[in-house]
Structures are given as structure tokens and as C-alpha cells.
Amino acid sequence: MSWDLSTQNPNDHALRLANALLRANGGTTALLQMSPATGDATDAGQLGLNTPNFQSLPLSPAVFRRIRATMKEGQPVKYELLVSAVAVQTAVSELQLSSADALFSTTASVVVGGKSFLIESVSVSESMGSVYMYRLLLRESASEWQMQQASQ
């Protein structure tokens, strides 16, 4: 086994290309529902008595699409959300988190077009070792709450 010692000159062309493609192919805004920076440490907060006061964190550009045309009875429909890495990096530094994983693991749900979705898994697309796009596999939430929509 050997190391790859070839010269690579990473630049942000993949990042900019992903941004442009995501904008051109729908370019929507997704809202991550995040718990506030100062959490509720009370007993009532752990028992579902207090409102969680989730805050909306907008991510754009993003593309939202259904990944399966056929539906099985009792199975929620699955969707995917493609998000620009620039938006994710901005959110990570805004919230002073250690990584994008930390961002998504602390997300309660994702709101797109006023509907709520749950994150099933997260994967990334990379170019020369740097992430240019995140792919979130989403499951339709059973609740039919009308959520706040992102202002474009």
C-alpha cells in the first residue's frame, strides 16, 4: 500500500459550481429546527411540559425532491435535500459548532415549504477532499403542523 503523493491544487470551483447548480435547479430554502443555545435544564423541560422553543436556521440554496415515486402502505414518503456546503459551513460557524455532523445531530427537524421532515441520514459529496454538497435523506413527519415558511 502506498500514499497518494500526487500534487493537488484544491480550489473552490466545486463549491461554486454546486451553489450555481442548486440555485438553478430549484434553489429553495430549508429551515433547520434547532434547540436554543441555552437549553432547558429543568425537570419540566425533560418531561415534555415546557415548549422547546426551537429556532429556525435557514439553509440555502437547497434542492428538495422526492426519491421514491411509489409509496407503500403505512410507510412515510422519503425525500432528499441537497444543500450547499457554503450554507452549512456558514451555519456551523454561526452556531460555533465543531462540525456539520454536530449541526445535523442537534437538528430536531427540517422544514421545507411549510412541511416538517425528519433527518434519516446525511451523506456528503467531496472534491479533492473538501465537501461541496450535503445530501440529507428526509422522512415525512407524521404530524400535519403548518410550519413557518422560509421567506425568499
Partner: protein, 162 residues
């Protein structure tokens, strides 16, 4: 019934902070003992590792007594993938450690019923008590080893209590 469920969780949580103060988790920006009530948290695709998750399932009520006796079934689920230091090869030991902790959390098998809907929480007139834990066989899903433990929690409905 909510008071009994709340009391059971808070009792186990407080005992866990004594039995193993190192079993903590960060949930909704709060560091707290590694135990949670599934129905009081945001739904997740996969339950967290190394944490006790309480899931309330069956409910029975005996209305033939002077005061209604409710029996609620609590499934306590937990799973582990071992530790990073041991590359997960200690997952059997980690699961056994959680089994042991749970046995200690459940003993003694009663607690004073409290009303946590009020601030500060107020003591109620009866106790809640629970059965011996029934340990299901351990299950393995890829690198996760987990177990479900079932406990029946009993509580008398007090006057004016929902």
C-alpha cells in the same frame, strides 16, 4: 398517570447520576444523565447509543378497587457499540455494564409520587411501585448490541388526578 410516568423517569434519572455520574449525554444543548423519555423528545431515526430510553407501551387499569390502580408497561431500551479505544470489541462488556446499572437504578422498586406539572414539584399522597425487570435477549444489529427491558409500573389514581 402522567404523574406516575414523570416520577418513574425522574427517579431513575436521579439514581443514574449517583450510580454512574459519567453516563451523560448532550441533548437539546443540555448535558444531563444518559436517560430520556422517548415521547418527550424529538423523534429520531435511530436511538442514541449508551443511553437508556424509556418507552411507555401498555396500560391496564383495575377499577374494582376503592382507588383505581393503573399498570403501565415501560420498555427500557439501550444499545452500545463499545468504546472507541477498544475499537468496539468491548461492546459485550459495555452492554453488561448497562444491564448492571439498570438493575441498580430499579432498586428499591418504589418512589413517592410527585407532581412535576407544578413548580416547584409537589409531593402526592401515594407511592408508585414497579415489578422486577424482565430482560429480553440481547440483539445485534451490525456493530450495535442492544437490549429491551420491560418493567410494569403501578400507581393509584388520586382524587382529581388525570
Amino acid at each position: 398517570m402522567e404523574n406516575a410516568k414523570d416520577t418513574f423517569y425522574i427517579t431513575l434519572r436521579n439514581r443514574l447520576s449517583t450510580v454512574n455520574p459519567n453516563r451523560t449525554m448532550i441533548l437539546r444543548a443540555v448535558t444531563r444523565p444518559g436517560i430520556l423519555v422517548e415521547e418527550a423528545e424529538a423523534p429520531v431515526a435511530e436511538l442514541p447509543l449508551d443511553v437508556f430510553v424509556l418507552r411507555w407501551t401498555k396500560l391496564d387499569a383495575d377499577t374494582q378497587l376503592p382507588s383505581t390502580l393503573t399498570q403501565m408497561t415501560c420498555e427500557i431500551q439501550y444499545a452500545t457499540a463499545g468504546t472507541q479505544n477498544n475499537a468496539g470489541l468491548d461492546r459485550g462488556r459495555a452492554l453488561e455494564a448497562m444491564d448492571d446499572e439498570l438493575l441498580r437504578l430499579l432498586c428499591p422498586s418504589s418512589a413517592q409520587k410527585m407532581n412535576y406539572a407544578q413548580t416547584p414539584a409537589s409531593q402526592m399522597g401515594t407511592l408508585i411501585f414497579w415489578s422486577q425487570a424482565v430482560f429480553e435477549p440481547a440483539t445485534t444489529v451490525r456493530e450495535r448490541m442492544g437490549r429491551v427491558v420491560t418493567v410494569s409500573v403501578f400507581a393509584f389514581q388520586e382524587q382529581g388526578e388525570r
